[in-house]
Subunit: 214 residues, 2 copies
């Protein structure tokens, strides 16, 4: 039993890597079986269909995302430091080799936005969850007096997500050297106009004082 | 000769539609030949490889984009009205049935950000061109006194593009009813903090006064 779980984990980790590089839609049980040195029938013992495999790859990616992005941010003090932690964690996630080919969710979004079914449903659930995590960090920042109490947290989450997507585009497709600097400038500017007390919580200062240990 | 050009145009229009729905990477000459009722060898008379077809699909999409988004905006007065025209034109483009499955460029970005070659090069050229068009509209807005003269136009283009990508995600994947309202709120807020004279150029007012005729 334990061995079966370990084998499945190993298969899923390889599948996440392949989805990051080549897309989730083109992931086949045949190719994957070659990569992990198992027979196709061996893989079917773990996943009863390609669709089931794709759903589990998304869930596995979400658990890696929790470990590398969300949990380190949750160890920052609540309020703005935590929001900054989520933002910086995502920049690292999408372009620093946690996944070899960039964010699986960004790629899967274009692959599934015109399709229905279980894969799309799983993706939507994960993406809504992520936007809710950002919005929650904004709410806590309001409670802590770090952000204006009248802010619409979902609107801020929309904006933060836009900066992330623009960063992903400029760093991965356009390979612009200053993509990260631009993303941080945009985020700082967003915080700046949202802040109750801007002088005491300067972005660069926050950044210097953070510990990024997963 | 004229007939060959017309046939090629008809093939490319169908190919753009298929790329919008199913992605550019999976577009095959075989499938396309079925859709346009021509033999595979008939298609090879127009495109010598799948790669050549993909490059021409991107170029054809760019020419449709020019017609539906860029040219109508260029008919607005230079300065902020033109910038607003580009923004609103893109929202219409990506989610109002010009293309049945959303923006071909957004989808192709995820498909090619880890690949090299002619398709990627064509995509990068088009995307850099689009960001330059936005940045140019910002520069003209500065010259017209509509935006602060010290603004970094490329930084504003980065932000505007992020709002567009966030809108694309929320409207197409998450199917949020308020995606457009959120995008316009974000853009208005970006303009508001960038404006020299904010009272005389209110966003909603601009919007009411615009004519969107392609």
């Amino acid at each position: 039993m334990k061995k079966a779980v370990e084998t499945k984990e190993r298969i899923l980790e390889k599948a996440v890597e392949m989805a990051s590089l080549f897309g989730l839609r083109d992931l086949t049980i045949g190719q994957l079986s070659t990569e992990v040195n198992l027979s196709k029938s061996g893989l079917y013992a773990h996943f009863d269909s390609k669709e089931q495999l794709q759903v589990e790859v998304l869930q596995k990616t979400a658990s890696i995302f929790l470990e590398y992005v969300v949990q380190p941010a949750l160890r920052q003090p609540r309020g703005l430091p935590r929001l900054v932690g989520l933002f910086e964690g995502w920049l690292n996630w999408s372009n620093q080799g946690v996944l070899p080919g960039g964010c699986v969710f960004v790629a899967a979004t274009s692959e599934w936005d015109d399709r229905d079914g279980r894969v799309r449903d799983a993706l939507v659930t994960i993406q809504k969850g992520w936007l809710a995590v950002i919005a929650r960090a904004v709410e806590l920042s309001k409670e802590q007096g770090h952000l204006r109490p009248d802010l619409d947290a979902e609107q801020v989450a929309f904006d933060v997500h836009g900066i992330m997507l623009s960063f992903h585009h400029q760093s991965r497709l356009l390979r612009e050297d200053d993509a990260r600097a631009r993303a941080e400038e945009s985020f700082a500017s967003l915080l700046n106009r949202s802040q109750l007390v801007s002088e005491s919580l300067r972005y660069q200062e926050l950044l210097r004082n953070m510990r990024f240990t997963p």
